[in-house]
Amino acid sequence: MFSSIKARFQNIGTIKALCEGAERHAREDGQRDAGAEHFLLAAFDLPDGTARRAFAAIGADSAGLRPAIERQYADGLKLVGLDPTLSDVFAAPAPPKQKLYDAAPSGQAVMQALAAERVGHRPLLGAHVVDVVAGMPHGVAARALRVMGIDAAALQAAALNIIREKQAS
């Protein structure tokens, strides 16, 4: 009973840190609303360290995610014959939002998936975010993982293993 209440309060703090972190990463990326890729970057910043551990477990370097995301924009421009360096030219950080918190559709999908599984979060970990994002087949995050040579199914399995270990301890 007490552990369930404790976990619930811990989860509220984790969700706040995730949302604020995702928004910060989105702004640094020149975007106003956080997408799934920004939630994944925010999961790396969580003190539980499980998101980074999930990447390490499959031999991937979590530090490679941001460059892989940036490469999506450069590669996208190259696909239509434009200079890929243009993606940096206009990538000024977006100003902080004055309105209530909102996320891009892919970011909303991450939050909805986390909310749907919240009963099993004792507590919510960065590895839960990895599990959700690695399960998304399309979008910037999915393409960034592919660019990093990551097998999304293996990453999901690693995240689930870490969650199980953490919850058993």
């Binding site: 014959g81 243009l86 206009f90």
Partner: protein, 73 residues
Amino acid sequence: MVDLNTLPDPDDPESGFAAVIALRRLADGLERRAVRSALRQGWSWVRIAQALGVTKQAAHKRLSDVPTGDETP
């Protein structure tokens, strides 16, 4: 000049969407830079909206957070 032969294969939607996202991000950045410049030159939101081909309300809602660089701290 864009070489049409380099455009994404229409049968490869994943590449097409990647290009769309990159172009949208580029267009957003270009738009914000132009609005910042217009505001610095004293353009009204009515004029900015007309130049962008949207309503004043739509322009203001989407772009009113563009900093002009002249804000007092």
